[in-house]
Amino acid sequence: MQNVEEEIKNLIAEIIEKDPAQVTPEAKFFEDLGVDSMMALEILAAIEKKYKISIPEEKLAQLTTLAKTIEVAKEYLAQKQGSNA
């Protein structure tokens, strides 16, 4: 899962045009990193595309830090793997 964390971090950094080093697990997207709601949606869409999962729009409000984003992504990745088993 370390891989997923690193991948999501890099993916977010690319979307918000910041150095991956700035995207720390607890850095707040909106306050610290200047993310707006459209960028948050792009992050969600990019994760969906990369991992071929579907994350409900309602989860958008939970994407406030890297740590939280990874948590949400893992939740749906686990569901996907569960359904494939």
């Binding site: 459209m38 949606l41 969600l44 869409a45 969906e48 729009e57």
Partner: protein, 248 residues
């Protein structure tokens, strides 16, 4: 065929302008999901008429005033049709009265349907459009929202609101390759206009430079243009289809 493999949602699709738009989209190859409020036989007849002419077609009986129903509709369309490319917010009602005679419900019903419905559908479709970085929204306004017509304070307010909504959303989502435009019909031969008194119809015609009422197909043609790639650099605009009635 202009809209082959595209999926469109049209609100208020069984009668008048909405019906003409549904038929136009089907003829141009789109799969069409349309909503209606009451007339199930009309909806079924329309489905029958256009089945086979395009991709899929399906009617949904929903009240556009209901946010959750609108949300469910968008989800169902994506599920059954596989995607969503076009939204035409057409559903609308009139409750014409002089303001001094207008009940609170007359105001509320018109605002909730014409403007609230537009919000409900657009709000639920926009996330899909943003994610796929493409989408096309057409909102049906009215000349009443531009020049104002007496006894239509409620309707004119809702239709002017639609123009403001169109401009604001067009700015907001332009960077995501989503175009948002409005079409403002004048007097079109539909049930809505057929209900007017004969002397009022004669009076109205005098105010139309082309001296005749329009057809629903005239409006559908404007919608077709705005949805097409030929209008690829047009967003936030209101195309007036009124025989010149609202010339300023």
């Amino acid at each position: 065929m202009l809209f082959k493999d595209k999926v469109a949602v049209v609100t208020g699709g069984t009668r008048g302008i909405g019906r003409a738009i549904v038929i136009m989209l089907a003829r141009e190859g789109a799969s069409v999901a349309f909503t209606y409020l009451k007339s199930t036989p009309d909806a079924e007849a329309l489905v029958k008429e256009i089945t086979g002419s395009s991709g899929k077609v399906k009617a949904f009986q929903i009240d556009v005033r209901d946010y959750e129903k609108a949300k469910g509709l968008i989800e169902k369309v994506k599920e059954e049709f596989g995607r969503l490319d076009i939204l035409v917010n057409n559903a609308g009602i009139t409750k014409d009265k002089a303001l001094m005679m207008m009940a609170k419900e007359d105001w509320q019903d018109v605002i909730d349907t014409n403007l609230g419905g537009l919000f409900n559908l657009s709000r639920n479709a926009i996330v899909t459009f943003l994610k796929q970085k493409s989408g096309n929204i057409i909102n049906i306004s009215s000349v009443s929202g531009i020049i104002g017509l007496s006894r239509q304070a409620n309707y004119a307010a809702s239709k002017a609101g639609i123009i403001g909504f169109t401009k604001a959303l067009a700015r907001e989502v332009g960077a995501y390759n989503i175009r948002v435009n409005a079409v403002a019909p004048g007097f079109i031969e539909t049930d809505m206009v057929a209900g007017l008194k004969e002397e009022y119809r004669v009076e109205i015609k005098k105010r139309i430079p082309l001296e005749r009422f329009g057809k629903a197909e005239d409006v559908a043609a404007a919608v077709k243009f705005l949805l097409s790639d030929k209008a690829g650099y047009i967003t936030g605009q209101t195309l007036v289809v009124d025989g010149g009635m609202a010339i300023l």
